[in-house]
Symmetry: C2
Subunit: 458 residues, 2 copies
C-alpha cells in the first residue's frame, strides 16, 4: 500500500474513477474513496474538476470535510473568490468556521469586502471575533500568520491533568507537540514538548519540568524574522505574545515553510524584474502586462543613456571603432553591479548585514571592485593587444572597464543599503534597474576618457 514517489503530474488517485462515481451519483462509494485520500490530494482533485462537478462535491461533502481541503489548498488569488462564490453562502461560512483560524483568515483576505462581510455575518460571534483579531494585524507580521488553536496548560497542573487536557484538545489544536504553559493572567511562563510530557511521571507538576527559557516573538514582528528564528532553533512551533507577555497565538512550521518559499521567490523575482503571477499558467497577454512596466521604465532610462551618448557623437564620428566596445564595457559593468547587488540583498534578507556591518560591506565591496576591475582591465588590454594588435584603444577600453567595474560594484552594494536605510525593500533595486544605471555611468566613463584622449587614439 505504500505509494511511490510522486512524479510530476503523476497523481496519487484515480481521477477518472472519482469523476465517474460523482457523475453516477454513487455518494457512498465516492465518500469512501475520496475521504481516504490525503487532504492535499483531495484538494488537487477538487481544484482540477470543473465547476459543475464541484457542485456535486459540495453536496456530497460536509462543510467540515471541505474545511480540511481548504486548509491545504494552494490557489491563485482570484480563485478563492471564484470557489467561494460557487458555494452556497451558508455552506461557505460553515466551512470557514471549521478551518483553523489562520487558514480561514488567509482565504478571507483574498475575497472582496462585500463577499467577506456577508460570509462573516453567517458565522458565530466567537469565531468572527477571533477572525477579526487576526485580520487586524498588518500583513507579513507574526500576528497575521499565527493561529489561535493551540493547547495551553496552567503551570500548577500535574502531568496527568495536562495529558487529559491534551487528549481533549487534540482534535482541534493545530499542533499538540508543544504545550505552552501560562499563569493565571494568561502570561506565557514556560514551554514543554509532548515528548517531555509522555516520559514524565504522572504526578509531577508541570511547573517543575517545563522549560522557562521560552523563545517567543511579538505579534508585530516581521514574518521573515520569525522564519529565521524557527530555522535557527529547529522549532516546530513558536509562541506569539503581546507587550504584556500574554500569549496571543502560535506559528507552526508549515506556515513558516510557506513564508521562506514566498520570500525567496520574491527576492528572486525582483532580481529578474518579474512578477510572481507570471508563471506557466498565465496567458501570454497577462505575462506581457506584468513584464512591460519594467521594460518601459528601463526604455526611458535607456533613452537617457542614448541622449548622453549623443553628446559624444563627434568623438564617435572620428573613431567609429570606439562604438564596437560599448556593449563589452556596459555588459561587464552591468554584470559586476548585479553580483554586488545580489550579495548585498541576500545579506540584508538573511540579517547578516546590519547597522554595524554596513560600513564593513561597503569597504569590502570597494576593494572587491578594485581587484575585479584591475583583473578585468588587464585581461582586456591583453586580449585587444594580442588579438587586434591595438595598444592605445586597448589601454582606453581597459581603463574604462576597470573604472566602470569599480563604480558598478560600489553602486551595486551602496544602493540597496541606502534603500534599506530609507525603509524601502532593497530587493526593489532589481537587477535590470542597477544594470541600466551602470550602463549610463560606464558609457560616460568610456566616452569621456575617449574624448579626453582623442588625439592619442586617432
Amino acid at each position: 500500500m505504500v505509494e511511490p514517489k510522486r512524479e510530476n503530474n503523476e497523481v496519487r488517485y484515480n481521477e477518472e474513477f472519482l469523476q465517474m462515481l460523482l457523475m453516477e451519483q454513487e455518494i457512498d462509494a465516492f465518500r469512501e474513496h475520496f475521504l481516504a485520500l490525503h487532504p492535499y490530494d483531495q484538494a488537487q482533485f477538487y481544484e482540477k474538476v470543473g465547476p459543475d462537478i464541484r457542485q456535486t462535491i459540495y453536496i456530497y461533502l460536509s462543510p467540515e470535510e471541505m474545511a480540511l481541503i481548504f486548509e491545504v489548498i494552494d490557489l491563485e488569488d482570484d480563485e478563492y473568490e471564484q470557489f467561494l462564490n460557487e458555494m452556497d453562502p451558508a455552506y461557505g461560512a460553515a466551512m470557514l468556521s471549521h478551518m483553523y483560524t489562520d487558514d480561514a483568515v488567509d482565504v478571507l483576505n483574498e475575497l472582496d469586502n462585500d463577499q467577506r462581510e456577508s460570509l462573516m455575518e453567517m458565522m458565530d460571534s466567537e469565531t468572527v471575533e477571533e477572525i477579526n483579531e487576526l485580520l487586524g494585524y498588518a500583513e507579513y507580521t507574526a500576528g497575521a500568520i499565527m493561529t489561535t488553536e493551540y493547547v495551553t496548560i496552567l503551570e500548577n497542573s500535574t502531568v496527568r491533568s495536562a495529558m487529559a487536557v491534551l487528549r481533549n484538545e487534540a482534535p482541534n489544536a493545530e499542533t499538540i507537540y508543544y504545550i505552552f504553559v501560562v499563569n493565571d493572567q494568561r502570561q506565557l511562563v514556560g514551554v514543554m514538548s509532548l515528548r517531555d510530557l509522555i516520559i514524565a511521571d504522572e504526578d509531577t507538576l508541570i511547573h517543575d519540568i517545563m522549560s522557562e527559557r521560552v523563545v517567543a516573538v511579538k505579534v508585530g514582528d516581521d514574518q521573515e524574522d520569525v522564519a529565521q528564528i524557527m530555522r535557527d532553533y529547529n522549532f516546530l512551533a513558536i509562541p506569539v505574545i503581546d507587550d504584556n507577555n500574554e500569549l496571543q497565538g502560535i506559528i507552526t512550521v508549515d506556515d513558516i515553510i510557506d513564508v521562506i518559499d514566498e520570500e525567496a521567490s520574491d527576492d528572486y523575482s525582483k532580481l529578474a524584474g518579474i512578477s510572481d503571477a507570471d508563471d506557466i499558467d498565465a496567458g501570454p497577454l497577462k505575462a506581457a502586462m506584468t513584464r512591460l512596466p519594467w521594460l518601459i521604465i528601463l526604455l526611458f532610462l535607456g533613452m537617457i543613456t542614448a541622449n548622453l551618448m549623443g553628446q559624444f557623437e563627434a568623438t564617435l564620428e572620428k573613431v567609429a571603432l570606439l562604438a564596437v566596445f560599448i556593449p563589452l564595457i556596459s555588459g561587464t559593468s552591468g554584470n559586476s553591479g548585479t553580483q554586488a547587488l545580489a550579495v548585498a540583498i541576500r545579506g540584508i534578507a538573511t540579517g547578516e548585514i546590519n547597522e554595524q556591518s554596513k560600513f564593513k560591506l561597503l569597504m569590502k565591496e570597494c576593494l572587491t571592485g578594485l581587484f575585479t576591475g584591475l583583473a578585468c582591465g588587464v585581461t582586456v588590454v591583453a586580449i585587444i593587444f594580442f588579438w587586434k594588435h591595438q595598444i592605445t584603444i586597448g589601454l582606453l577600453v581597459g581603463a574604462a572597464i576597470c573604472c566602470s567595474i569599480l563604480v558598478a560594484t560600489i553602486a551595486g552594494s551602496f544602493i540597496p543599503l541606502l534603500m534599506d536605510k530609507l525603509g524601502i525593500d532593497p530587493a526593489v533595486a532589481s537587477g535590470p534597474f542597477i544594470t541600466t544605471l551602470n550602463d549610463v555611468t560606464s558609457i560616460l566613463i568610456y566616452l569621456g576618457l575617449a574624448t579626453t584622449f582623442i588625439n592619442q587614439i586617432m
Copy 2:
C-alpha cells in the same frame, strides 16, 4: 522569563559573564548557566569565542553535551575541520557517536579523508556501519539527508505497547510525532501520528487505526522533490524506503527547511552569477576570486560581440548616430531575456514545468515576446519621433528592439528547458550568460537592419 525577539546581533545570553566564568574556572556556575541555554545559543557562544576558551569548554562539557551543540551549529565548510582538529580525537569521536546519524554525517562530509577515517576508527562498529551507509548515498538525495533514528512499531502491537516503545525510544529518536508501522520484513505498511495514538483506546491494535496511505520517498530521490512533497502535504517527517519497500530512514522538517533555503539561495546566486561563499565575511580578495571566473568568461563573450560589431564598422562610420542606440537595444533585450529565464527556472525548480508543459511554455513565451516586443518597439518609435523628430532612425531602432525582444524572450525560456532536457542544472544558464548572449543577437539584428537600409537612413 520569556525573552524578547532577537534583534540582529542581539544575543540571548550574557557573553561576557560566561567568558568570565570560564576564565575563572567556575566549572559548576558555567555549566549551570550554559546548559540552561538553547543549543542554538550555546552554539553561537561556542563559535564566537577563541580557540583557547574553546579548549576549556571541551574540558567542562561532556561529548554528549557537545553533540547537542553540533547538531544545530551552522559553520563555514572549513570551520568543521578546524573545530574537530581542536578537540582530542577520542572526544571528537565520542561527540559524533552521540549525534543523530544524519547530523554526524553532515559534519564528517566536511572533513578530509584522513581526519574522517581516524575519527571513525574510534567509534563503535554499529555507529560506523550506520554512518557508512549514509555516506554511501549520493549528495542531494533523500538517502543523504535522512536520519536513522526513528520509532517503528509492528503492525500487530496494541496502542499500550506502542506507547511503551515510544516512551523508551523518545530520548534517542529524532522525532516521535510520527510513528512508522512495519511488518515482520521491516516493510513500511502504515503511519500514524502521536496525536492519533494518544487519543486512541489503549487496547486497540495499531493495524486498525494506522493510516495505510503512506506517502514515502525512495533513498535515491532528489532532495528538492522531497522538499516539495513535504511542503505540499505539510508533513513534519517523511519515511524513506528502498526498492523493496523496506524502511531505511526518515527525513524531518528541520532538514527540509535547510534544503529549501539552500536551493532558493542557489538559484538566486546563479541568476546573479555569484557564489554562496561570497558574503559579508568573505575578504575582498576571496570575493573577487569567486566573481572573476564569470566576469572573465563574459569578457571573452563580449569580445566576440565586439568582433562581430567590427564587421559593421563601415556602417557605423557612415552614421555615428547609430552607435548611440546600441546600449538601449542590447539592454532591453537583456532585460526581457532575464525575465523569461527567471520564469522558466522558477517553473522548473517548483516542478510546475514538466515534459508535457514545456511546449506550452515555449508557445506562451513566443507570444509574450511578440507582445512585449511590439509594445516596446512602438514606444521607442514614438519617443524618438517626439523627442528627436527622427522617423527613419526611430523605425529602425523600434524594429530592432521588437525583433531582439522576441528572440531574447524565446532564448531565455528555450535555453533552460534545453539544459534541463540534457540533464544540466538549468540555473547554470545564469542571468549574465543569457544577457551577454542576447547582446550579440540584438546587435547583429540592429546593425544588420541598419546596413540593409543604410541608404534610407543617410
